[in-house]
């Protein structure tokens, strides 16, 4: 047996020691909080019961894309009718349930939980302040919503392209991808702002979720009542938060959409007002919060 020479021996000190290395600062804190919020929402690192709801929502969001790709694979391109598969803006009509579920799930989990379980005070004792904390949370909510608004159409684009049913030429393909990305960002931004605003107003996750769902279902009814019942201008449609982001997607793809009587600028303004309004409510609420411990 070879005995190591005395000079080779080392004492490797274990245990708590001082650290004088690099620190990532505020940007690293935002990144870490965003990622941990995403993990919490998806139930990663948590018991299995926490994964059920997000998995259902993701399945609902991706299943139509898989089905349409399957149809494109099984039916030869020369006999496949365009109406037999969804176009990109029309795809959102198939996954609206998943989007509503995600909007009602994500923001309450990401925002309300921190206020209830004391993590907000913990985060504000780190390099984060209220503004950067909300930025981290907004990134998490928008990224989670992007999981169901952005990636399924991208998956569909890739599937169609592999089956030679996608856009012709690289330029057209990139343009389509750009429109998909823009659409996903538009929907995610509007719904993230609105759902965060609802979540900032209550300390109960269930109340926040119900509030978000009510908002998404009540505003189209209210818009219809104003336009058809009270005979007001069709431009009142902009108050319909469950329609405006998807109407904007049609316009991004050059489609007149479901409400051609609305000018594109009105649709865009409606989305901006909802997005900025949601952000304003969240900021107002958090700037008033007294966090003493």
């Amino acid at each position: 047996m070879k005995v190591p020479a005395r000079g080779d021996a080392q004492i490797v000190e274990r245990g708590f020691q001082r650290y004088d290395g690099r620190r990532s600062g505020v940007s690293g804190a935002i990144r870490s909080v965003s990622w941990e919020s995403i993990r919490a929402t998806l139930g990663l690192g948590r018991p299995a019961r926490n994964k059920i709801f997000p998995v259902i929502a993701v399945v609902i969001a991706y299943l139509p894309a898989v089905v349409f790709i399957g149809i494109a694979v099984l039916i030869p391109g020369d006999i496949l009718e365009p109406e037999e598969v969804a176009d990109y803006p029309g795809y959102y009509g198939f996954i609206i349930l998943a989007i509503v579920l995600f909007a009602a799930l994500v923001a309450p989990e990401v925002l309300v939980s921190d206020r209830r379980n004391g993590m907000l005070a913990m985060y504000l004792s780190t390099p984060l302040d209220r503004r950067t904390y909300l930025v981290a949370k907004a990134v998490a909510v928008a990224a989670m919503l992007g999981l169901v608004t952005l990636l399924p159409p991208v998956l569909m684009l890739i599937g169609y392209s592999v089956e030679n049913s996608g856009p012709d030429g690289l330029g057209s393909w990139l343009a389509t991808l750009g429109r998909i990305v823009l659409s996903g960002i538009a929907i995610s931004a509007a719904l993230a702002a609105v759902s965060m605003a609802a979540s900032s107003l209550t300390d109960r996750r269930a109340f926040a979720a119900i509030g978000i769902v009510l908002l998404l279902f009540a505003t189209p009814i209210l818009a219809a009542a104003l336009i058809e019942g009270a005979d007001l201008s069709p431009y009142w449609r902009v108050i319909d938060i469950s329609t405006m982001p998807f109407e904007l997607v049609f316009r991004i793809f050059g489609d007149p959409g479901n409400f051609p009587e609305l000018a594109t600028w009105a649709v865009l303004t409606g989305n901006l007002v909802w997005t900025i309004g949601g952000i304003a409510v969240v900021w107002w609420r958090y700037s008033k919060l007294v966090i003493a411990r």
Binding site: R14, G15, F16, Q17, R18, Y19, D20, G21, R22, R23, S24, G25, V26, G28, A29, S32, V33, E36, A40, G45, R46, P47, N50, S113, R116, N117, G118, M119, A121, M122, Y123, L124, S125, T126, P127, L128, D129, T132, V290, I291, A292, R293
Partner: protein, 306 residues
């Protein structure tokens, strides 16, 4: 600091050196408000504050990266494992992921939770949660840790262990500690310095040696003699007549008013003249209880004055 309905920490002027500093006072004294100001969670409505040479209102992010905080509140995400909780907060404090991982384990081992580190926080006892709070406070290697009631909810054995770890963190790793508590005995035991608050006012500040270790006069315990029941009263009367302040508790007299040597002479003379017998005579070590007792007398008198 002014809240909508009250003023807290009005006119407070405090200087806290390194070491272990105790922030003492009853509930509502202003301890948590002071901690929140130190962390930059609250902005003072008047005056200024400097922590580790930085202004929390101006350099909050930079400052908070150098401070570890253990809140009083004992509610954390129940589903999260202790290790993930500590690792995540170390990352938020700026540590690279690999470093945060290893330091999360090291910190949990240091507080005695090495074998329990993968348990969910919701399944842990109050004592274990208090240790987790301490572990996350030190994991990112701060210059200062601020612990709000770190022994709250602990039994005497757990409290001793927690206090020992806190002292160890300061002595072995040079991390300054500011801890709040309403248990004066534990502050006397572990703190080098103390800041005493009552109803938002500063009652006393300084080193424990200056405050609690200083002489509080002398204490004279007499033997109660059956056939001379007035001997204790007689001694007390002689001391008062000589100009000393006397507080009587049974056969024990606490005597103040002169230098200790003069008090010893005066006490010995009074006992000899009255024919009483001494059971014990010694210096009275002033405690934080005495400081608060003195303040309550003073502030009560102030409140009572027109």
């Amino acid at each position: 600091m002014a809240f909508p309905s009250t003023r807290a920490l009005d006119g407070l002027d405090v200087s806290i050196p390194g070491g272990v500093t105790g922030l003492v006072g009853a509930n509502g004294a202003g301890k948590t408000t002071l901690i929140s100001l130190v962390l930059g969670l609250l902005t003072p409505t008047a005056g200024s504050i400097s922590v580790l040479g930085l202004d929390p209102t101006q350099s909050g992010a930079e400052l908070r990266a150098r401070i570890g905080y253990g809140p009083e509140r004992n509610v954390f995400p129940d589903d999260l494992r202790a290790y993930d909780f500590v690792r995540h907060l170390a990352e938020v404090k700026g540590l690279p992921r690999d470093e945060a991982r290893s330091r999360a384990s090291d910190s949990l081992y240091l507080v005695g939770l090495g074998e329990e580190r993968f348990r969910a926080l919701g399944t842990m006892s109050t004592g274990q949660r208090q240790r987790v709070k301490l572990a996350q406070a030190i994991a990112a290697d701060p210059h200062l840790i601020v612990l709000d009631e770190p022994t709250d909810g602990l039994d005497p054995v757990q409290r001793d262990e927690m206090l020992n770890i806190i002292v160890q963190v300061n002595r072995n790793f040079g991390i300054d500690v500011m801890l709040s508590s309403h248990v004066l005995e534990e502050v006397e035991r572990v703190c080098d310095h103390v800041v005493a608050l009552a109803e938002g006012r500063l009652v006393a500040q300084g080193s424990m040696v200056e405050l609690a270790g200083a002489s509080g006069g002398i204490e004279l315990e007499l033997v109660e003699i059956a056939d001379r029941p007035s001997s204790v009263d007689d001694v007390a009367a002689r001391l008062v007549a000589a100009g000393a302040g006397v507080r009587r508790n049974g056969a024990t007299l606490s005597i103040v008013g002169f230098a200790d040597d003069e008090l010893f002479d005066l006490a010995a003379r009074s006992v000899a003249e009255s024919g009483a017998r001494i059971r014990r005579l010694g210096r009275h070590r002033r405690s934080l209880d005495d400081i608060f007792a003195d303040d309550s007398v003073t502030s009560g008198a102030e409140r009572g004055s027109p």
